[in-house]
Amino acid sequence: MSVEAQGATNHRFLSAKAIRAWYVVHKWTSLVCTVFLLLLCITGLPLIFHEEIEHLSGDAVEAPALPPGTPAVSMDEVTEAPRAGKPGAVVRYLFWDNDDHPNITFVGVAPSAEAPPDAVRYTPVDTRTAAILKEAEEPGGFMYIMLKLHVDLFAGLPGTLFLGFMGLLFVAATVSGVVLYAPFMRRLPFGTMRRDRTARTKWLDMHNMLGMVTLVWVLVVGATGAINTLGELLFGVWRNGQLAEMVAPYRNEPALEKIGSIERALATARTAAPDMNLRFVAYPGTPFSSKHHFAVFMNGNTPLTARLVAPVLIDAKTAELTDMRDLPWYLTALLISQPLHFGDYGGLPMKILWAVLDILTIVILGSGLYLWVVRWKGASQPAVNASDTAGREQPV
């Protein structure tokens, strides 16, 4: 949107002063975030298809076909496999992804009990045979670089929060753009592209049309992305709130000498929530559990409830149920915002639509940047007849 829309004294929607103010908001919020948003859109593009890319590049793991109904071995055996020959190594997490990786348990192992959280490496293990399907790998490669640039700019939590702030600015830029759309379109039918005018006018029309047409998708993906950046903080709130409440009776217990059977703990969790699936387990002493518990996170069966997990705390010594609750609202909001950001909940056609909308967003960002550069270059020239020309080109 441009300053040309300002100054219409007979304007019926916004005063000239209000338009000017919204324009300033639009300009500055956009200018600050655009470079980072371009980075997020470009790095996000391959991430939409990360599963397909893993399959094509041969990085995907699959459990071999076995006769249907082959029983699973004990989870104690499955979790032992990746530690074989690694004295001091400890299991920290387990997770399952039954839709995309059936019959596989991903076992997260740290080299020692004192190792930092980012030292955990995941080994895919066949749940039916305890065979290691692929050795754990150090992170790296193209997709890892894309992911890190997208999530934290290789700068950890501060990088993540910074990108979240850029996301908020982007939402503000989008909203202010919608406000400015009204005075701009006072005399132009929806979708007008003045192709016979200057490049600037053409791209201005393109910017406004695309911005308006893709509005809801852009807002939802932008806002849920910003919410996702708060994940680590929100889990910290949960740890100090609900988790602390659930494990309060163990506050004065002596430290565990030996962690008990994970097989028995999972059996207890399955009995406690028979209609749910195992999704994730945090071992005692990890940030997602207490020092005395396996925290078993179970999910539901519909596309929505599959995203929502319920923490089931199992005493790591006795394998008895300590407590089971629904997650608090802020983690529910976080978990629902994830698919809405990733676009991974409606099959390949949805991913393709996500990619096209992502590219359209790049066009909006690029055209916005172009319009600012052109305007900035022409700023020394006198604005001509700004009074009535909402949405009209300026003589260059």
């Binding site: 019926r12 919608v178 047409v213 809801v216 939802v220 809405l340 359209l360």
Partner: protein, 65 residues
């Protein structure tokens, strides 16, 4: 050009098409969360609409008359 021949539109006219597209997009983002199968297909069509509209107006110039 003030008060020239071109009509001016009301807020309702200006936002009719964007609000319609917004409603369809929002529906499309929601349906695939609810279920699989038909819900997914509904989502593809609803999210396909803003893409189609973008291409219709912003794509290569259409032949006229």
């Amino acid at each position: 050009m003030r008060g020239g021949g071109r009509p001016t539109f009301t807020l309702g006219q200006i936002f009719a098409a964007p609000v319609g597209l917004a409603a369809v997009s929002a529906f499309g983002l929601t349906t695939a969360l609810v279920g699989d199968g038909l819900w997914d297909i509904a989502s593809w069509f609803c999210l396909g609409l803003p893409v189609a509209v973008s291409v219709w107006f912003g794509g290569p110039r259409r032949q006229r008359g």
